[in-house]
């Protein structure tokens, strides 16, 4: 559940930017002859609605209704008492109470779409059944179509506002990693320092994963309880700042930094430079890798990975995160950084 700072700074995210994003979606809707687009949000799948309205649910769920013109309407399963808070952190036209989201959506469609128009739903396959069922069983059921591709087409490349937020998120993550005291012995101590630093810096959320002893196991784990840190360990820190997520991974050695790690860091940079919109299939030797971006409701989803054959296209200028795992002679090395994807024949560049 989200429990970091959720606030809307009009300086950082001007209303006009959000309105511009909604207008782009509406333009696509008109071209695709969609009468409405529905976008579900929960704290697990917040990113599409947040990108359009700046609303991030700390729990519970909501459905954003985007009509071809005008401001979007938020059907919110939250208590009515929370509506003022919702309005204070987001840019929507109307917030409607919708304890039963699916029925409220079906009723809304009945009110606003008297004619049989096509209804786009972002990630229709993934829509929770209690939300989907009343719509599917309504007179509009046959009009529901998937709008995932339509939304993805406008979601990237990132605009300057999003890049600035991502840069802030990355800075929060790096500062948290720098705050790890020398000689930290236990995972609980390490995670406590990361949480404190990132949240005091204004992180909306912090998601740490840890490989406590790199030589024993390089798998990044969600820790419950505690673990002793080995001489070498790795931390992956996913941080959200005003709904923009980045992922950063670092290896830490309690001894002198191994020379092999410097070489690995260089390989990481070379890999980033080779990456661009025309080349999303990396082939680094002895490496596993993943390139992620945000183009739907999940904060980050995979564009390309060494473990799957075909990448999905991503335009130059997109905000993405590259995670790389190398098998070095003296053990594994993990690295990860956010980047801005290069256009055709242009190198990508690290965000910070």
């Amino acid at each position: 559940m989200r429990r970091g700072l959720i606030s809307w700074s009009r300086d950082e995210v001007p209303p006009s930017v959000l309105e511009g994003r909604v207008a782009r979606l509406q333009e696509q809707m008109r071209a695709a002859e969609l009468g409405v687009v529905l976008i579900y949000t929960s704290f697990a799948r917040p990113s599409a609605v947040a990108w359009l309205t700046h609303f991030v649910p700390y729990w519970n769920e909501a459905l954003l209704v985007v009509l071809p013109t005008g401001a979007p309407v938020l059907l919110a399963a939250f208590s009515k008492r929370v509506h003022d808070w919702i309005r204070s952190v987001s840019h929507v036209g109307e917030v409607r109470s919708a304890p039963d989201l699916g029925r409220a959506a079906a009723a809304f469609l009945g009110e606003h779409l008297p004619k049989p128009l096509r209804i786009g739903v972002l990630e229709l396959d993934a829509l929770p059944w209690p939300v989907a069922e009343p719509m599917i069983k309504s007179e509009h059921g046959r009009a529901l179509v998937d709008a995932t591709g339509l939304f993805a087409a406008i979601r990237q490349p990132a605009d300057e506002v999003e890049i600035r937020l991502a840069r802030r998120a990355a800075t929060i993550a790096v500062q948290a990693l720098k705050a790890i005291p020398t000689g930290t012995k236990r995972a609980s101590e390490l995670l406590s320092v990361l949480e404190r630093s990132a949240r005091l810096d204004g992180a909306e959320e912090v998601l740490p994963r840890l490989a406590p002893d790199l030589r024993a196991n390089a798998t990044l784990r969600r820790l419950e309880g505690d673990a002793l840190l080995g001489e070498r360990y790795a931390v992956e820190l996913s941080v959200a700042y005003k709904a923009t997520w980045v992922r950063i991974t670092r290896c830490v050695s309690t001894q002198a930094v191994p020379p092999s790690w410097r070489g690995a860091a260089n390989r990481f940079v070379e890999t980033v430079e080779r990456l661009n919109e025309a080349n999303l299939s990396l082939e680094p030797k002895n490496a596993a890798w993943t390139l992620e971006t945000c183009r739907g409701s999940p904060p980050l989803s995979i564009v390309a990975t060494g473990e799957a054959p075909s990448p999905s296209p991503l335009p130059g200028g997109s905000l993405a995160c590259l995670s790389l795992r190398l098998k070095l002679d003296d053990g594994p090395w993990l690295g990860g950084e956010p980047l801005i994807l290069g256009g055709r024949e242009q190198p990508s560049r690290l965000l910070i």
């Binding site: 929770p128 404190r196 949240r199 990044l220 989803s301």
Partner: protein, 353 residues
């Protein structure tokens, strides 16, 4: 499953609704969808959306057959089809994605969900033990919160201190909302940039998680000396909490607990403030989900049984002082209830300097 005639139960989940997956397969998804195929002998296969999640789950439980696919829902649909003539059920209602529910399995989702709900309602001794430890952590977390609540600090700094404490104790998850101010405050929300001011009521609901199980505490503090009105209001909420807890026993309904609390408010002429205009529930179940069944509301007739766990909280708006919270976690015992929360039931006061 055998009694219900189910050969394979496919349990869906995600970071928002991970409770059923945790119960059925002892896994907690961090990102993306996850699906567990549960046979009568236990979890048989897990499907997730990323190689990182798959590797993590394999490292947590080496015996699990974990696969990943960028199209995890489609992959799960194919895997269900490959089960052929076996009797398959899909659950829970809250997390089943539309595509899986569109076929013949839709009709059985409610029944399979009810099966899991029944099993998850009464806790086993190890589950109770986890809840007890979570309640201790909630008490300790509230002490950290009180210490962090100082004039001039932004609300989000209080949560940062509590989170740092929970992590230092190996706790990976917490649900926390808060509120600060006076009569204008109508509820709680995630922390904002508002800085605490003298005389503020500071409310919070802390819900740390141990081994997947959440326990909750709700308390209100005052920055500075409480006013006469704040003290008077506290005594009403404390009376309501005590009345609610006194109503917790086997055979009573969730509605009885709500009614006992609401009666106190009505007796004090505050009946308007126990409606949905001002409050959501008078408590709720605790377990692998932070807001588990049953909802403590007057019209909920679910009967309490030993080893059910819940929070009793008469949280609501008060017209004189603003939103006020007060609540304890409890376990139903054979002859009443055990209060898991140990923090004193008082209106805490934090010195201004």
């Amino acid at each position: 499953m055998a009694e219900e005639g189910i050969d394979v139960l496919v349990v869906a989940g995600n970071p928002w609704r991970s409770d059923y997956l945790r119960f059925a397969a002892d896994i907690t998804p961090v990102e993306g969808h996850a699906f567990a195929f549960i046979g009568r002998e236990g979890p048989a296969r897990i499907i997730v959306e990323s190689p990182a999640e798959a590797a993590r789950l394999r490292s947590e439980q080496a015996e699990l057959d974990v696969r990943w696919s960028l199209s995890a829902i489609e992959e799960t649909e194919t895997a269900i089809r490959e089960l052929g003539q076996l009797r398959i059920a899909l659950a829970p209602l809250a997390a089943v994605p539309c595509r899986l529910a569109m076929g013949p399995l839709a009709a059985g989702i409610a029944r399979a969900t009810a099966l899991l709900d029944r099993l998850m309602l009464r806790k086993s001794p190890p589950e109770i033990e986890a809840l007890r430890r979570a309640a201790v952590l909630a008490d300790e977390g509230y002490a950290v919160f009180r210490k962090a609540a100082r004039v001039g600090r932004p609300e989000y700094a209080l949560v940062a201190e509590v989170e740092a404490f929970f992590r230092s104790r190996g706790c990976p998850e917490n649900f926390q909302i808060l509120g600060s101010g006076g009569r204008e405050v109508r509820g709680m929300h995630p922390p904002t940039e508002r800085r605490l001011a003298p005389g503020d009521l500071v409310t919070t609901e802390l819900t740390p998680c141990v081994d997947g199980y959440y326990a909750q505490i709700c308390r209100t503090l005052v920055l500075g000396e409480p006013s006469e009105a704040q003290e008077r209001v506290f005594s009403v909420y404390n009376e309501a909490l005590e009345a609610g807890i006194a109503a917790v026993r086997p055979g009573a309904t969730a509605g009885d607990i709500a009614w006992a609390q609401n009666k106190v408010f009505r007796n004090h002429g505050l009946g308007d403030y126990v409606t949905s205009e001002y409050t959501r529930v008078r408590g709720h179940g605790l377990g692998l989900y932070v807001d588990a069944r049953p909802a403590v509301l007057e019209d909920v007739d679910l009967k309490l049984e030993p080893d059910m766990t819940l929070i009793v909280h008469p949280n609501t708006y008060h017209p004189e002082v603003g939103y006020f919270v007060h609540g304890d976690s409890v376990r139903v015992t054979p002859d009443g209830c055990e209060v898991l929360t140990r923090t004193a039931r008082r209106l805490f006061s934090v010195p201004l300097v």
